[in-house]
């Protein structure tokens, strides 16, 4: 039926074009200051068309125009230009209407006006917004021509701006990072945080391709007359098994200016097998090139040689200080309430700052605005539950998710006193709310709470928790300017309570509080400039530690470290500048300020001497609210992309960053009791610079993406520690840290196949991270002032993630990873000196633990896909560490009968099967 209709249209169009050719005569005239009537006479005489006009509007006009063998349309266009007159030609009635102000539409086939650009068979319709109501009939769009802008008879050459918003047609959610592009000339853009896109295209006829993660790709036929808007609704991939594993937008890889950006959709994340089958955002990040961790059960990750605290982890603009549960076994982010994650490794947008290495942006998922839905997952140790739905249909929605472990009661069942007396538990809760005030204003709210508690054998209880909340308001001021205002707070605290000995019972606690405010704007200045600008402020308040007696019998002397506070604020401006259709520059500047605030007592040290107890000069007490000291400086964020061909691009970027808050940790693995420290007069902010260069090539229309990136990084005032540094409850912590110099360089190679039965990625990273401490006046030299490898320096890293879909209901995933062992400092001997036996250590980090290798496999079995079924369920069954290799996590040395013996600890040193059951309703 569809085809028949199409054929009819095509035939009709052909016939009418033929007829028009025959009926049109060409016009030749030479008018100089001629009255309008003379033009009318020439037209009527030469073409036979009858001209309707209002003499009152035209009798004072003088026309100057010269045309030879012009079409009627071109002639009129030229003659009436700048006269404030509109005209319309009706070829059927052979008439011309000349009007002032308002244009008449004779509703004729479009082809007459632009026969060369017109494709036969196109059905025409003036559509600005087809989103309401028609969205689900996606097939219509393929045959539909969208006219955009103020329609003119002829399309004047030149460029016009097309902008609009892309939403999920089903849930109404804005879609971020969807790409909109045309092939000829090759131009593309991606939607921003508000789902808006802007493209500057030559006027005329185009095929607009729209793609987004997990959505059905669409193509739109458009005619662009002038600047205009096209809002687009995309539909979910109905068959989720067809979802590609990694769905960084195919063309985006080549087209976008940002480098070193990894975007993972939650569905891609779910396919990667993880320990216990629990979908884990952070663990999947670790499979990407340039992202590493010191060990399996360690909190945090290292990006391109940066330390763990150099990553800014944002959950809807709120900082997450500890992203892990259970000492790093699970990530603290519930995968059911997030949409995806984006990791910026090299080009860091100017709107973010405050950390040196990367920004990990976790985007919350917003609840379904149409109907209530739920999801539950049951694993062996953890369970999760999510419910979402509208509060006011189509305007307000919620999503509430929670996870918990129930290992505690199981521990009680075991016939082993040690197990029974231990417990480990965690839970987290998320609430995301969204409310659309009108089509220009939306409100978003997220709240997050996570709690961990361990009781390890004794009566010592460790606990930590993250709390944060964000409220943001997005407003579209005009189709050129939109803004987002957000406020958030983040809190992280931990505590250790020990009651094993009532005399020495204590409670140790640490607390960090952060309040953020941010205003960001996106302004589309013109065809080639899109500006982002704004300002942000963070107020920090840290309680670096309190050590208090617990219970009446305790004889512990209370010790409380003085709280510290600081204000960090920044202004930023970023211009995305399309120089030519091939060359795009992103020019960003961020200027950040940092004030260390009173009340606080600050110790001053003798200059020229290493900071230590022995060089303390004085302690100065500053009053509340005083600016103790200020650091400030510019941060440059520059990147460029040049398209060598539509599927091959080269990119370069230069970034500088400043970091004012530091995590203090001198243990190899990050432990939850690591403290954070603000920069102060004695601890300078860290400063990092990175240059990177990359080559991106897509094959087979973007199904296979390849990239090769190289980088070189320099870090000043990287914090390292003096040997034997004591970081907890230290009143003069600056005497324990040293500012070292760091450099990191490496190359990352990745091949990704994002769709098809077989999909996945293979990445190889070569990277080095070296530190140097060579200033004898700042403290003891490390390794005689030579460069030495950082704790997370693992030169070679290969990861393979593969997925094979046997059928729509059964797929198998494989995860294979190899990396060089991380460096360690080994004791290599002992000796007798000054009355004691002492241990001799090798140079810092001069040895490595054995290389790491692991293979995991998982099977995903889905229940049937009947859409009308009330619940849909799936099983994930798999094996973690298939080869059972005892990968070394840590080594340690103990003195046994006068001899010192070495041991190595493997955390997942065996084959670990797992099973998970998921249900959706």
């Amino acid at each position: 039926m569809k085809i028949v209709l199409l054929l009819c249209f095509a035939w009709l169009a052909l016939v009418s074009v033929y007829a028009q050719e025959r009926q049109t005569r060409l016009l030749t005239a030479n008018l100089k200051d001629a009255p309008f009537v003379q033009l009318v006479q020439e037209v009527e005489k030469q073409t036979g068309f009858y001209v309707y006009y209002a003499p009152a509007q035209t009798d004072s006009l003088l026309i100057t125009a010269r045309f030879t063998n012009s079409t009627l349309e071109a002639a009129l266009e030229r003659a009436l230009i700048n006269q404030g007159l509109e005209f319309a030609i009706d070829t059927v009635a052979r008439t011309v209407y000349v009007t002032q102000g308002q244009k008449l539409y004779p509703h004729l086939p479009e082809g007459y006006f632009a026969p060369k650009r017109q494709q036969p068979g196109a059905q025409q319709q003036i559509v600005i917004d087809h989103f309401e109501g028609k969205a689900n009939k996606s097939w219509i769009k393929k045959d539909k021509l969208y006219e955009i802008g103020r329609k003119t008879h002829t399309i004047t050459p030149g460029m016009a701006r097309l902008s609009g918003q892309i939403r999920n047609a089903h849930s109404g959610d804005l879609i971020i990072g969807a790409t909109v592009q045309i092939d000829e000339p090759f131009t593309g853009a991606a939607t921003d945080a508000l789902g808006n896109y802007t493209l500057v295209l030559p006027k005329g006829r185009h095929t607009l391709k729209v793609r987004s993660v997990g959505m059905q790709p669409e193509e739109y036929q458009i005619i662009l007359y002038s600047d205009g808007q096209l809002d687009i609704g995309l539909i979910d991939q109905i068959d989720q098994l067809k979802a590609v594993v990694i769905q960084a937008n195919r063309e985006a890889n080549v087209v976008q200016t940002t480098m070193g950006t990894e975007k993972l959709d939650i569905r891609a994340i779910r396919k990667v097998p993880t320990v216990m089958g629990e979908t884990d955002v952070l663990r999947v990040m670790l499979t990407l090139p340039g992202v590493k961790t010191v060990g399996e059960a360690s909190t945090g990750f290292n990006v391109r040689g940066g330390s763990v605290d150099q990553n800014l982890i944002l959950f809807n603009e709120a900082t997450v200080y500890n992203p892990s549960h259970l000492f790093g076994f699970f990530s603290a982010i519930n995968s059911d309430v997030i949409e995806g994650v984006e990791l910026y490794k090299s080009s860091i947008p100017a709107q973010y700052g405050g950390r040196l290495s990367s920004v990990l942006k976790i985007s919350p998922r917003w609840g379904n605005k149409k109907k209530v839905e739920g999801k539950a997952g049951i694993g062996l140790l953890t369970s999760r539950f999510t419910i979402e739905g509208p509060i006011f249909k189509d305007r307000t929605s919620f999503i509430l998710g929670g996870r918990a472990t129930y290992s505690n009661w199981v521990l009680r069942l075991l016939d082993n006193a040690e197990f029974r007396n231990s417990s480990g538990s965690f839970h987290d809760l998320n609430l995301n709310l969204t409310h659309e005030i009108d089509n220009k204003n939306s409100l978003y709210f997220t709240a997050y709470y996570s709690q961990d508690q361990f009781k390890l054998r004794s009566d010592t209880v460790w606990g930590y928790n993250n709390k944060n909340a964000t409220l943001s308001w997005k407003r579209i001021f005009s189709n050129k300017l939109e803004g987002e205002f957000s406020g958030s707070f983040s809190r992280y605290n931990y505590g250790v309570n020990s009651e094993s000995d009532p005399m020495r019972a204590f409670g140790l606690s640490f607390d960090i509080n952060q309040i953020n405010g941010k205003a960001g704007f996106i302004y589309s200045l013109n065809a080639s400039h899109t500006l982002q600008f704004g300002l942000s402020a963070i107020h920090y308040k840290l309680k670096p530690g309190s050590f208090l007696p617990l219970g009446e019998q305790s004889e512990i002397v209370p010790d409380v470290l003085e709280p510290e506070q600081a204000l960090e604020h920044a202004l930023y401006l970023e211009d995305e500048f399309d120089v030519t259709s091939k060359l795009t520059l992103t020019l960003g500047l961020r200027y950040s300020f940092y004030h260390y605030l009173g009340p606080k007592s600050v110790i001053s040290y003798a200059s020229g001497l290493p900071k230590s107890e022995n060089s303390m000069l004085d302690t100065v007490a500053y009053g509340a609210g005083t600016f103790i000291n200020t650091y400030h400086g510019p941060e440059y964020r520059l990147s460029a992309r040049y398209l060598l061909s539509p599927t091959l691009s080269i990119k370069a970027s230069v970034n500088t960053l400043r970091q004012y808050i530091h995590m203090l940790s001198n243990t190899t693995a990050v432990s939850p009791t690591d403290t954070w420290k603000l920069s102060d007069p004695n601890i300078r902010p860290q400063f990092g610079q990175q240059v990177s260069l990359g080559l991106y090539k897509n094959f087979r229309t973007g199904i296979i993406e390849t990239s090769l990136e190289g980088y070189y990084k320099k870090i000043n005032d990287y914090l390292d520690y003096k040997g034997g540094a004591e970081l907890i409850m230290n009143h003069a912590i600056e005497a324990e840290v040293i500012n070292t110099e760091g450099k990191a360089y490496g190359a990352e190679f990745m091949v990704k196949k994002s769709s098809g039965k077989l999909n996945g990625w293979l990445s190889y990273t070569y990277s080095r991270t070296l530190l140097r401490m060579d200033d004898p006046n700042a403290g003891e030299l490390i390794n005689r002032g030579n460069w030495y490898p950082a704790n997370h320096d693992k030169p070679h890293d290969v990861t393979l993630i593969g997925n094979y879909r046997f059928s729509h209901r059964f797929s198998v995933s494989l995860n294979c990873t190899y990396s060089t062992g991380r460096p360690i400092t080994l004791p290599i001997g002992k000796y007798w000196f000054a009355g004691s036996e002492r241990v001799l250590y090798a140079d810092r980090n001069s040895y490595r633990i054995p290389d790491y290798f692991r293979t995991d496999i998982a099977m995903n079995i889905d229940g049937n896909h009947n859409l009308r079924q009330l619940t849909h369920n799936s099983w994930t069954i798999g094996v973690y560490n298939l080869t059972g290799r005892r990968n070394v996590y840590s080594t340690y040395f103990v003195s046994e009968g006068g001899a010192i013996k070495g041991y190595r600890l493997s955390i997942f040193g065996t084959v670990i099967p797992f099973i998970n059951f998921n249900i959706r309703f």
């Binding site: 075991l414 022995n614 243990t667 290599i828 000054a834 001799l840 040895y847 070495g902 041991y903």
Partner: protein
């Protein structure tokens, strides 16, 4: 349901089994290290002692391996050479020697196995006298301090060693002995008065670098816990004070941080040690120790039991009365007879320390003991 629970249990057991610990002996650890260790300093105006030893592998039970038969000498920039005399314990000594404070000296060690070692040239640093050794008693014990100052404000960095000596008293006189079923007079009667000596086992350093004047006040030396036997009768401490260069001070500070504790994975990072002694043939070869030169100042302090009220040390001497007819039962079972009362009953104890101090200390009175 039952099956489900069983599966859970199985999984959980796996959780406990996942982690495992294996012995770890990378080649580097099994290789016996053989680096030279140089301890001591050269003194002007008093005898000097340098102790040479070798580092050993971690698994070795014996931590002290002396470096014997080395040729150790001190050379001045002016070409003066003085040889030290070694013994089989790796101790190399020099009798009292006056060094020229205007000259710089260095240490040369010619070992028989690993070649020659040289130190940097160092200058002689005079040490100001110790002002006093003081102590306070609190409920936990006695803390001793050293106080000193340099009127010229030059010294700034100090190193202390000490020798503790204390009198040990066995409260009972053991007149008898149980030998093969009969009680006989003990000959000789075990000593009841001994002296115990111990050297400092910590690196004690201090600095006045941050002070206007070069004054060290109440530098902690040693803490004697309330229940220690050191203060049972009379206690004495000899404190030796050495002035250090800043480099030497920093070296000892680092050495101090690398204590005898070994690294577990939550332990802090160890420190790089780099002194001023180098192997001539291989500058990269680690040599432990820092050669320095100066004068030594000493001071001795005595603390008597009368000065410290309520001392908490009690020697557990349970005295058992043994009637003559039970002698076989008790004394045959290990009880030691001490004395006899008028009625012929014996009194005995199980604790050797109660009648013989020589088991843990030396009955020979030290020369200096007043």
């Amino acid at each position: 349901m039952k099956k489900w629970r069983y599966a859970l249990l199985l999984m959980l057991l796996a959780f406990g089994v996942w982690s495992c610990v294996d012995p770890y002996e990378p080649n580097i650890i099994t290789e016996a290290r053989n680096y030279l260790v140089v301890e001591g300093s050269l003194s002007s105006g008093s005898p000097s002692l340098l102790r040479l030893s070798r580092t050993v592998g971690l698994a070795d039970a014996n931590a002290f391996v002396p470096e014997r038969f080395a040729q150790v000498s001190i050379e001045s920039e002016g070409g003066q050479v003085v040889y030290l005399t070694g013994d089989t314990n790796g101790s190399y000594t020099l009798p009292e020697l006056d060094l020229n404070p205007q000259h710089r000296y260095r240490l040369r060690i010619q070992t028989i196995t690993t070649g020659e070692y040289l130190s940097d040239y160092v200058t002689l640093i005079p040490t100001p006298p110790i002002d006093s050794i003081t102590w306070i008693q609190n409920e936990l014990g006695v803390q001793l301090f050293v106080n000193t100052h340099d009127p010229l404000d030059n010294t700034r960095y100090y190193y202390w060693e000490y020798e503790e000596t204390w009198e040990v008293r066995a409260p009972y006189r053991a007149e008898f002995e149980y030998v093969e079923g009969i009680i006989v007079n003990r000959e000789p009667i075990p000593p009841q008065k001994c002296w115990k000596q111990e050297n400092s086992s910590e690196v004690i350093i201090g600095s006045s670098a941050r002070l206007q004047r070069d004054v060290i006040q109440r530098q902690p030396l040693v803490f004697i816990p309330r229940t220690s036997w050191k203060l049972d009768q009379r206690y004495s401490i000899l404190v030796k004070q050495h002035a250090l260069s800043r480099e030497a001070f920093e070296y000892f500070q680092q050495l101090k941080k690398n204590t005898e504790e070994t690294g577990s994975f939550f332990d802090p990072l160890p420190v790089e040690l780099r002194g001023n002694i180098y192997a001539v043939s291989n500058a990269e070869e680690p040599v432990i120790g820092f050669f320095s030169m100066g004068t030594v100042q000493e001071q001795r302090l005595y603390i008597g039991i009368a000065e410290i009220p309520r001392w908490g040390f009690r020697r557990a001497c349970n005295i058992t009365m043994v009637t003559p007819d039970s002698a076989y039962f008790y004394f045959g079972g290990g009880l030691q007879p001490l004395y006899r009362d008028d009625e012929g009953n014996f009194y005995g104890t199980n604790n050797t320390d109660c009648y013989d101090c020589s088991a843990k200390a030396d009955p020979v009175k030290p020369d200096f003991w007043e």
